[in-house]
């Protein structure tokens, strides 16, 4: 398939003001598990790069390498042209990781006060609170917050040091639609202020809404890369919904079928060749009923990308 991989340059030739972070031919093994394979990523300054993939694809591993929390088995990782583990790098980076439990007895403003103290030029408290939209809960203990508020406090901790580069690891996971959209607005504000953002997500909608650039990864490798529009156009598939007596196996085996699912008794077929599949269905099942054909959404596009690669 037409896959555009990032070109890699020798470090010296990198224009520092264009590339905020770079991963070059990076592999990362955890014991026998290869979390990343020959992975290349170039993060342009001032852009939002979305790293998109299913759970276990290697997204968090990539973030951890960029943060210097893990070292690559092979290959090179650099942030602002320097070592990701260096203090000078950490001073310019803000992070939102997936945390199982945050100390619950500290108040929101206390968490922010502490994290702000780590940085040389933190934002004023009021600005951090308003940028994260949490002024109204500043005196609440973390443990008393709702899920959406907790995520926004973690977001505040990422931005409070006024970093140039932000890593947001699945920032909206577990949030309802409203809370997700609020956080998106806050992330867009960062871009307006000239910040660089790397965001991992398994929501295509999120990548589509925010990213300048999308990197789709699966099983530790990049399988597609481009603007959100390019990713979508590359996967222009259709969805056929119908009632049929044909078995999953038979339909799955038809040429051009990417995936078969069921929805309230109806079969949902995702395909890159809808006309051919329909002809086959009509020929094989004379009682075929309730046929609907629709453009595939982003989820289907993503599925087709990951499946193409697997086949």
């Amino acid at each position: 398939m037409g896959m555009s991989t990032v070109q890699t340059f020798p470090a010296r030739l990198q224009a520092a003001h264009h590339t905020a972070a770079l991963m070059s031919k990076v592999s990362k093994n955890y014991g026998a598990v290869q979390a990343l394979k020959d992975f290349n990523l170039e993060v342009q300054a001032g852009e939002l790069t979305a790293v998109l993939g299913p759970n276990g694809a290697g997204k968090t591993t990539a973030i951890r390498l960029l943060l210097g929390l893990a070292l690559p088995t092979s290959g090179r990782v650099s942030v602002f042209g320097g070592d990701p583990t260096a203090l000078t790098t950490h001073l310019r980076v803000g992070t939102m990781l997936q945390v199982g439990r945050v100390p619950e007895t500290l108040r929101v403003r206390e968490h922010i006060d502490l994290f702000s103290s780590y940085y040389a030029r933190p934002l004023p408290m009021a600005q951090t609170l308003s940028a994260a939209g949490i002024e109204n809960v500043r005196d609440r203990k973390f443990g008393d917050l709702s899920g959406g508020q907790k995520q926004r406090v973690l977001f505040a901790l990422a931005i409070c040091g006024d970093p140039d580069l932000l890593f947001l690891d699945e920032p909206t996971v577990g949030l309802d639609v409203e809370a997700r959209h609020l956080l998106w607005d806050e992330i867009r504000q960062l871009l307006v202020r000239g910040k660089t953002v790397v965001l991992t997500t398994h929501y295509l909608e999120e990548a589509d809404a925010l990213a300048n650039r999308v990197v789709v990864i699966n099983k530790g490798s990049i399988i597609a890369e481009g603007t959100p529009g390019e990713i979508k156009s590359r996967t222009a598939g259709k969805k056929i919904r119908c009632f049929t007596r044909l078995s999953t196996e038979v339909v799955q085996a038809l040429p051009g079928v990417v995936d078969v699912q069921y929805d309230r008794g109806a079969m949902l077929i995702h395909t890159s060749r809808p006309e051919g599949v329909l002809r086959e269905l009509l020929a094989r099942d004379l009682e075929l009923a309730g046929v609907e054909v629709a453009g595939a959404g982003l989820e289907e596009a993503f599925l087709s990308l990951t499946q193409e690669k697997a086949n």
Partner: protein, 266 residues
């Protein structure tokens, strides 16, 4: 005339490390103070025991001094151990296990500030424990402590919290995020008993008295008892050496755990 203004790169301006340590300690203290499981149990248990067995039931002499005086040293040691072990191990194990420590490691926070905060916080609670026992003893137990003795007893016990902080860090690196308190009690309670912190050592079976020689809690309690004139006559230096040796072993274990984490993550 054109002037050249040299502006240092943002990355070269470092935040104030002392300021970070102070804030880290302040919030570690507030965090623990608001956690009844920690603040109430580390203060209430030694005090409750003291009131019960010292102020209410204690009428005799032990080791040449009044029971109420003897028990300040014994329950003081007990309190210091609890404050130090739970103050370090429980939060470290939980913050390690639930990813909070990783989040902090991704910031410019100097890692030692994190550990220092836990140790200082534990020492503050240790001091509070000892002060409370002394106040209760003097006010209600007929205890006579000169100011010098009181200060020396306090300093001894607070310094004695360090080996237990080291032990707590070691446990915190090997216990699971939620199992740490149980893990701590497996050591804490038998050690306290065998060191004579609940029942004075001379009333314990000979075998237990022999086991006590290998326990840091025994050595700290003897140092505390030494300050009130009720120790076993062994030179203080021996006890300090035992405590320092124990602290070194624990720090070694904690270091191994730290390295193991770095390796597993890195």
């Amino acid at each position: 005339m054109a002037t050249t203004v040299i502006t240092p790169a943002v990355a070269l301006i470092r935040p104030n490390v002392i300021g970070i340590c102070l804030k880290e300690t302040k919030y570690e203290f507030l965090k623990s103070l608001r956690l009844p499981m920690y603040s109430v149990s580390t203060i209430v248990f030694p005090v409750m025991f003291y009131v019960l067995f010292g102020l209410i039931m204690g009428r005799q002499m032990i080791g040449g001094v009044g029971t109420t005086t003897y028990l300040i040293a014994a329950y003081g040691t007990f309190g210091v151990m609890g404050a130090s072990l739970f103050g370090t191990a429980a939060s470290l194990a939980s913050e390690r296990g639930f990813g909070w420590l990783q989040m902090k490691k991704a910031t410019p926070m100097p890692p030692f500030a994190y550990f220092l905060a836990k140790i200082v916080m534990s020492m503050i609670f240790s001091a509070a424990d000892v002060l409370l026992l002394m106040i209760l003893g003097v006010a209600f137990g007929g205890v006579h402590l000169s100011a010098i003795v009181a200060v020396k007893l306090l300093l001894t016990l607070v310094a004695g919290s360090l080996p237990f902080c080291a032990m707590g860090l070691a446990i915190g690196y090997f216990a699971g995020p939620t199992s740490a308190p149980a893990f701590i009690n497996v050591f804490y309670l038998p050690m306290s008993f065998c060191s004579g912190l609940w029942i004075p050592i001379m009333f314990l079976p000979k075998l237990v008295q022999k086991v006590a020689l290998f326990l840091p809690s025994y050595h700290l309690s003897q140092l505390a008892l030494h300050q009130v004139g009720a120790d076993n006559g062994v030179p203080a230096q021996t006890h300090w050496e035992a405590l320092i040796g124990f602290a070194m072993i624990c720090l070694g274990v904690a270091w191994a755990g730290y390295q193991r984490d770095q390796k597993a993550n890195g």
